[in-house]
């Protein structure tokens, strides 16, 4: 009792200095509310095509704001939530979105094994970057490798509602982290555009899906290897009452290795689609990969170079068959994209500034919402970006 009172007094005393927590309820001396957030403002310019706004004219319609809280009402139970407002041209309007809100229960915690259960809306364990993708401090630059982390379809990947299990096995010098969940997907019209290449008339109804990722990491965080597997199933009710079935299985292999000031990171993704009762091929496989090299110039500066490749269909890598089927109304270059990028990032304390340049061949991941007439897009295009960010 005495300790509780003391710690509360001290927490209150130091909350001014630490500035990150305060007590909510006087009966829980040891429960702090942690508050954090971030504000990022970008400027993007393209010579052709639009990415997150009217970027051909240069645009500041790229903004990311977030605020989160974590609160522990009981010793083993924690509540966490985050609201994000993301503005990205016409693909994201800036409307506040509940990014996550869940109960985290620490079921078991011993020297070698830890087990947590999450219930609610939880970020999806998808590749290396998805879980904190909207916060530039945790990602390698202004835009994520779009071939895997599509920003034009976010809801399906971002977070989902349901139950997830997280376990960690601590070995000597390394640890294995396993996440698995049974969840309901979040869908929007962007999901349809991504699945069917157009917003078809009718209703897309997602079924509960299995999400899983297994990750091996050395304790010094220098080497990481992960495998992600999702199995998404949905039904599509057409206006004539017929029902189509879709199964979408994305798989990702992720590797990170760092030596001294050098970090090598790569991810390979394979997206298998199965369609039944659709005016689409029964099976289609998409493929993406990127390789990224990062140099730490000092504690504050780093350079990031990346090659990022996207194919919508491995059996039609240049998109020519697709274009032919569409009577050339949709260009072949909308089925692939190769993006060479180079960026410079400065960060110190709670501030970050980034500048990057992209040279892209293809428009495979370009937001349809910002380029409504795909036939008017150019195959070769460049992008320059600047972003300023602060967190608290």
């Amino acid at each position: 009792m005495m300790l509780r009172v003391m710690s509360k007094t001290l927490v209150l005393m130091f909350s001014g200095i630490v500035g990150q927590f305060f007590t909510l309820d006087s009966s829980h001396a040891n429960t702090f509310m942690h508050w954090h957030g971030f504000l990022s403002q970008g400027y993007l310019a393209t010579n052709e095509n639009n990415l997150f706004g009217n970027t051909e004219a240069g645009s500041i319609d790229f903004r990311e704001l977030g605020i989160n809280a974590s609160y522990r009402p009981y010793r083993r139970t924690r509540l966490a939530g985050q609201i994000i407002s993301r503005t990205a041209g016409k693909s994201d309007t800036g409307e506040p979105d509940l990014d996550y809100l869940f109960v985290d229960y620490s079921a078991y915690s011993q020297n070698t094994i830890g087990l947590n259960l999450y219930l609610g809306r939880v970020k999806n364990p998808f590749g290396f970057h998805n879980e904190s993708r909207d916060m530039i401090f945790t990602r390698p630059g202004i835009i994520l490798p779009q071939s895997i982390y599509f920003d034009r379809v976010r809801d399906l990947a971002l977070s989902s509602d349901g139950f997830q299990l997280s376990s960690e096995y601590r070995l000597k010098g390394s640890y294995i982290d396993l996440r698995a969940g049974y969840v309901l997907p979040r869908l929007d019209s962007g999901t349809e555009v991504s699945l069917f290449r157009s917003d078809l008339p009718g209703d897309l109804k997602g079924k509960p899906l299995l999400v899983s990722r297994i990750q091996y990491s050395t304790t010094d965080e220098r080497f990481k290897l992960a495998y992600t597997h999702f199995d998404f199933n949905a039904e599509f009710d057409f206006p004539d009452d017929s029902v189509g079935e879709i199964r979408f299985v994305p798989q990702i292999v992720s590797v990170k290795y760092s030596v001294g000031i050098l970090e090598l990171l790569g991810e390979y993704a394979r997206r298998t689609f199965y369609f039944k009762n659709f005016p689409l091929p029964e099976k289609q496989i998409g493929e993406s990969y990127y390789l990224q090299l990062q140099f730490l110039l000092s504690d504050s500066w780093k350079i990031v170079g990346r090659v990022d490749q996207f194919y919508a269909d491995v059996n039609d890598r240049d998109g020519s068959e697709f274009a032919q089927q569409k009577g050339f109304a949709v260009p072949a270059h909308s089925r692939f994209a190769r993006d060479y990028s180079l960026g410079l990032i400065w960060s110190r304390g709670n501030w970050l500034a980034a500048i990057e340049h992209h040279r892209v061949d293809g428009t495979g991941w370009l937001p349809v919402q910002d380029n409504l007439d795909l036939s008017k897009t150019e195959r070769q295009w460049n992008m320059w970006g600047v972003m300023l960010s602060m967190r608290f």
Binding site: F14, N30, K123, T219, S258
Partner: protein, 146 residues
């Protein structure tokens, strides 16, 4: 009068800064109120992947600011991690909701107050600050395993 106050403040500040810089040359140890910890568990604790001790007490990780020489020394020499890698791991925890941020303190005396009064707190200090300390802050021995 104001000038004198400022002089005193500057003097105190210099003493504090100087203490911490001197401390950076000393041996640094994990400190808290437990006897020993396995190395993999220590990394899990400071990586914020572990939220509570065996008995259910929530873990409060206490650290110096990210640019503090003691913090950099602790990351590299005790945890064996580049500070930026640890900070990215923290940010990923904080902004995905999967973990809590560590508590940041400005100097050694603040570290000592929190370590000695908050149950389940763990931090780090120069070894000389823990030896013969009248409070119940202990040097935590790291068990490296076989």
């Amino acid at each position: 009068m104001v000038g004198k106050n400022i002089t005193v403040l500057v003097f105190l500040f210099l003493i504090l800064v100087n203490c911490d810089i001197q401390a950076a040359n000393e041996n640094i140890v994990v400190a808290g109120n437990i006897q020993r910890i396995d190395k993999p568990l220590l990394n899990a604790v400071f990586g914020r992947r572990l939220q509570h001790w065996d008995d259910g007490t929530p873990i409060t990780v206490v650290v110096f600011p990210r640019q503090h020489p003691l913090h950099i020394k602790f990351c590299k020499e005790v945890l064996g991690v580049f500070p930026y890698q640890l900070h990215i791991a923290w940010d990923r925890m904080i902004y995905s909701g999967l973990g809590e941020a560590p508590v940041e303190v400005e100097d050694i005396s603040e570290m000592k107050i929190i370590l000695s009064s908050v149950p389940g707190a763990i931090g780090y200090l120069p070894e000389t600050e823990v030896e013969g300390n009248p409070t119940h802050i202990k040097k935590i021995n790291i068990v490296r395993g076989n």
